[in-house]
Each structure stands twice: as structure tokens, then as C-alpha cells.
């Protein structure tokens, strides 16, 4: 704002529309104000209590400041082909509402129990019917591929949904790098098995009776489609552990449980791999698990879903579920000759 002329003469002549220095709020104060407003937003209940009581209450109810998992910013492009117009689910909800039974079966368990999860060193092995088996380390995951941001709908089999901006790379790209043999028919995935870090793998009561390590799989045609995505980031930063750090699969036209988290192994095979939820209850969870409003889960309807968006308890909306979660244009062809009632 100080013109060259003003600098030489020692007198500044700012234009009449410019703010004077004393009118500008310093950045620090600006941020503090936001934090204060945020803190007040904790709830009218909090605001109505005297200070000491408040401190006591919040200590009692677990707002203890455990160090959160450290996430880093990522560089990525934003290809327009993989964006949708739906409003994003706030980050705060995406990182605090997770099914990740390795860290406990209730929705907030992963957020509570996964913050000290170690992702370095990490090894992701790509093996089986490939020309060049690969092993990627943590650094490779964010540097070996051109990262892109894709906004995908996520539909959980429990009939709630979110809209999530993932950062990562396409699964097909990785498989091409490894060189898939023409004998391959399926791709299998496996989550880390580490009971010391994952209490749900140690304790049946906490882990929901799943046989660990968690496994998943897709057909080779599904895997080579443009949609399957290996996410290493969320909202522009590396993934938090409750969302599947350091690398997870995202299959937006299938129910959420197919999108396996914290992957350590990708194996190209010539037979259909076992999948965790199918092993546990095959009448409820099929191998395909495509989002399909016409095929109900035995215990609940899949025709509509509760969309988790901005705002408080009463602001959620119920919306009709779309066939293939709205991704039919890209994937419907894969199932042309398949009876989706039988192969659910």
C-alpha cells in the first residue's frame, strides 16, 4: 500500500478506499476470535454453566486432549470427470463416524482408539499373477503416482451416506504398473493384521466377531474400471487412521464395507477371493455388494438412505438411494449378464 512516491518522501498517500492500518484486524486476533466463537458453539448447555463447572463437566465427558494423529497436506490435481455437485459431508463428521471394527464396533471407537496408529514404516505389496510384483512404502504412496482429488458418494450398507473428497490414485493405474497377467480373474485385498495396535483384532468382544485380517475382493473387470480408487488422503491431507491410513480402497458404487482400509496386500488371482462380511453372514452380505435400492438387506430396506451433511441432529435428510449409488454410467456394463438379486 506504500507507494514508491510515498516511500521516497516519507509520506504515504494511500487511495481513499484503502483500509487504514488500525482498521485491519491482525491475523492472530482474527483467528483467536474464530476460536472463541467456535468454543462457544460447543453448545448452549456449556455456555449456560459457570466456568469451573464447565471445565469439570468437559473433563468428565472425555474432551481430554489426546494428541491427534498427525496428517500432512498433499499436492494433487482435481480432474473434473470425478467431481459431483452434491454438498460435501463436513470433515469433522467424516473422521468421527467410522466403521472400522479393528478399532471397535461403535461408530466413534475408531476416532477414539486409532490416533496413535503407526503408518511408518508401511509396506503395500502387489503380488500374485503380475509381471512385476511391487512393494510400495509410505513415501511411494504419495509420490509414485500423480495424486488427484475425487469427490465420491459413499453409501454404507446400514443405510446412511456421505459425500467425501478423497485424494489418491486409480487402482487400475497401479495394476497396470505391476502388469496383470491375462490369467487373472480377481483381485484380493488384505488389511494390516496387528493386534497390538488394533484392539478389535485382539478381543472378540471389541472386534465384532470378524475373522481377521479383514479381506475383500473384486473381479478383474471391476478393478480395471475407472472408478476404483486407492485413497491416501481426505480433504486435501493424508488420511487419518480411522479412515484407513495410510492407504485404502474406495469403490463408490458398492456398499462401504467393500472399501477395505489400511491395505497391506493386493493379490491378483485366478479365483474369487473370500471376503470378510460374506464369510460372516453370506445371506446378508454378498460378494458384489453393489448399491441397489431394489434389493433389500434382510433386516432393512435399501430403498432410501439418511444423508449425513452439515448441521446438527435434526438436519439430516432422507434421500432415495440410486442404482449403483449413481455410478451406473461407469459400471452398469460390468453386470449386464448378472442377476443382481442372486449376485447381491
Amino acid at each position: 500500500m506504500v507507494s514508491k512516491k510515498g516511500f521516497f518522501k516519507g509520506i504515504a498517500n494511500p487511495p481513499s478506499w484503502a483500509l487504514k492500518d488500525h482498521q485491519v484486524t491482525p491475523e492472530g486476533v482474527f483467528r483467536d476470535r474464530r476460536n472463541i466463537v467456535k468454543a462457544l458453539g460447543l453448545g448452549s448447555l456449556g455456555a449456560s454453566l459457570p466456568g469451573q463447572v464447565q471445565a469439570g463437566l468437559f473433563d468428565l465427558f472425555g474432551s481430554d486432549d489426546k494428541p491427534a494423529f498427525a496428517v500432512q497436506g498433499l499436492d494433487y490435481s482435481k480432474p473434473s470427470a470425478f467431481q459431483i455437485n452434491d454438498k460435501l459431508t463436513p470433515e469433522d463428521k467424516i473422521i468421527r463416524h467410522n466403521n472400522f471394527y479393528e478399532f471397535g464396533t461403535s461408530k466413534q471407537d475408531p476416532f477414539d482408539n486409532a490416533q496413535s496408529f503407526q503408518v511408518d514404516p508401511w509396506e503395500l505389496k502387489i503380488e500374485g499373477l503380475v509381471d512385476k510384483p511391487l512393494t510400495l512404502n509410505l513415501h511411494d504412496l504419495t509420490t509414485k503416482f500423480g495424486l488427484e482429488e475425487r469427490t465420491y458418494r459413499l453409501r454404507c450398507v446400514e443405510a446412511w451416506s456421505m459425500v467425501v473428497p478423497w485424494v489418491g490414485f486409480s487402482l487400475a493405474e497401479l495394476l497396470k504398473m505391476a502388469g496383470v497377467s491375462n490369467k487373472a480373474t480377481h483381485v484380493a485385498f488384505e488389511t494390516l493384521f496387528d493386534p497390538d495396535q488394533m484392539p478389535g483384532q485382539k478381543n472378540r468382544l471389541m472386534g465384532g466377531g470378524i475373522h481377521y485380517p479383514y479381506v475383500e475382493g473384486v473381479t478383474i473387470a471391476e478393478a480395471m474400471n475407472e472408478l476404483p480408487f486407492l485413497a491416501v488422503g481426505l480433504y486435501g491431507k493424508t488420511l487419518p487412521p480411522q479412515n484407513g491410513a495410510p492407504v485404502r480402497l474406495v469403490l463408490p458404487w458398492k456398499y462401504g464395507f467393500k472399501s477395505i482400509k489400511s491395505v497391506v496386500k493386493i493379490r491378483v488371482t485366478d479365483k474369487q477371493p473370500p471376503t470378510s462380511w460374506n464369510q460372516l453372514a453370506s445371506s446378508e452380505y454378498g460378494f458384489y455388494a453393489n448399491v441397489n435400492p431394489e434389493v433389500d438387506h434382510p433386516r432393512w430396506s435399501q430403498a432410501s438412505e439418511r444423508s449425513i451433511g452439515e448441521g446438527g441432529l435434526f438436519s439430516a435428510k432422507r434421500i432415495p438411494t440410486q442404482m449403483f449409488n449413481g455410478y451406473g454410467d461407469s459400471v452398469a456394463d460390468l453386470y449386464k449378464n448378472l442377476d443382481l438379486r442372486k449376485y447381491y
Binding site: L42, G43, S44, L45, G46, L57, F58, F61, G62, S63, D92, K93, I94, I95, R96, H97, N98, Y101, T105, S106, K107, Q108, F111, E158, W160, R204, L205, G208, G209, I210, W277, L280, A281, D296, R299, W300, S301, S304, R306, I308, L313, F314, A316, K317, R318
Partner: protein
């Protein structure tokens, strides 16, 4: 030590505190953002557990009263029973308002189509009937029929853990523990329940027996 009526007063106050505090805890958890990113399932599960836990407490009262010869204790059953109903109401209200978002047509369709919801709903109907007939005046008017209606609490005790077991995805250990506890509490009453069931099936014979008993007394 025998429970006095003064002791009963304080015991009732204590029970109110015990059953109210989880509700206050839940409200604080939700208001302070400690019930997760999407508290809906948390609230539904929490209130459902409240109902089933209170149900177990009601079923515990009479065995305890018998064992320790504390007749006055029986007077807390209505209080605890009403909390079963209160938690069940919160549970259903949360399901309808927060999960289904008042899609009533969808709710009725679900009740008919989904066995676990049908089981839960049947339990709720029983709890409602027991609640509206829990007033002293109604009890007096109903005479003998009151007891036979209130024996339906045993049916409720069977339905509630089945509903719980059926509603979970895979975490069956916790509901199995509840089924075990309730089966035990019903087993203690096996004679009473058998009597109640037999009375229903063959009313003539039982009335003969009771007539005989009456003439003897």
C-alpha cells in the same frame, strides 16, 4: 435389616437418580459433541440399552425381595417399570425422528417387513399396555385380570433381547449375554410362568383346582 417406609422413600429417590442420570449423560454427550460425528445410531443404541437394562432391574426386584424377605421392595417395581417404558419411548422416538426422519409410510412398511422391528414393536405395545394399566385405580378395577395382563412382562423379557440380538450386524456377544441373564431370571420364575401358561391353555381344569383350593380354605 428390614426396609422401612422411610427407607423406601430414599430408595425410590435413589432409583430416580440412577435412571435419570444416563439420560442427562446422553444429553451432555450429544450437546458437547462427544457422541461421534453422527450421533443418531449412538442415541438409538444408548436408549435401547437403557430400556433393556431397566427391564432387567424390574425382573431382579421380586427375587431379591423374596430372598431377603423385603416385602416393601416390591413397591419399587412400578417405578422401575415406568423407566423401561420411558427408555423404550426415547428409543422409538429417536428411531422415528432421527433415523427415519418422520417417514411414517416407510415406518409401517418396515414394521411389517422386518422381523426384528416387528419384535421390537410388539415389545413396545406390551410395555405400553402395562404402563397405562399401572395406576392404582386401574389396577383395582381390573381385579384378577390385572395380574394376568402384567404377566406379559415375561413375554416382553423374551422379545427385548431377541430384538437386540437380531438388530446387530455381527457383535453378537453382548446381546448373547443379555439373553443369558434374562433366561436365568425367567428360569427362577419357571413355576410361576408354567402356572400362568397352563392357566391360559386349560382354564377349566385350573378353575377346578382353584375352586377346590377355595373350598378347602
Amino acid at each position: 435389616m428390614r426396609l422401612t417406609s422411610r427407607g423406601l422413600f430414599w430408595l425410590k429417590g435413589f432409583l430416580h437418580l440412577c435412571f435419570m442420570s444416563p439420560i442427562i449423560y446422553l444429553i451432555v454427550q450429544v450437546l458437547t459433541d462427544n457422541a461421534g460425528g453422527d450421533p443418531v445410531q449412538y442415541i438409538i443404541h444408548f436408549t435401547g440399552m437403557g430400556a433393556i437394562n431397566s427391564l432387567i432391574v424390574t425382573l431382579l426386584i421380586s427375587p431379591i425381595a423374596k430372598k431377603f424377605k423385603q416385602g416393601l421392595l416390591l413397591q419399587t417395581r412400578r417405578l422401575v417399570g415406568l423407566y423401561v417404558f420411558a427408555y423404550a419411548c426415547l428409543h422409538i422416538a429417536a428411531f422415528i425422528s432421527l433415523d427415519l426422519l418422520f417417514a411414517w409410510g416407510f415406518l409401517f412398511e418396515e414394521i411389517i417387513k422386518r422381523p426384528y422391528i416387528l419384535v421390537g414393536f410388539t415389545g413396545f405395545v406390551i410395555a405400553s399396555l402395562l404402563t397405562i394399566t399401572s395406576f392404582q385405580a386401574v389396577k383395582r378395577n381390573m381385579g384378577k385380570r390385572w395380574q394376568s395382563l402384567h404377566n406379559w412382562v415375561y413375554v416382553l423379557a423374551v422379545l427385548a433381547p431377541i430384538h437386540f440380538y437380531w438388530s446387530v450386524k455381527s457383535e453378537i456377544i453382548e446381546p448373547s449375554i443379555y439373553i443369558g441373564i434374562i433366561m436365568f431370571l425367567l428360569w427362577i420364575r419357571r413355576r410361576q410362568i408354567k402356572m400362568w401358561l397352563i392357566k391360559k391353555e386349560t382354564p377349566t381344569e385350573v378353575s377346578k383346582v382353584s375352586a377346590k383350593a377355595d373350598s378347602q380354605s
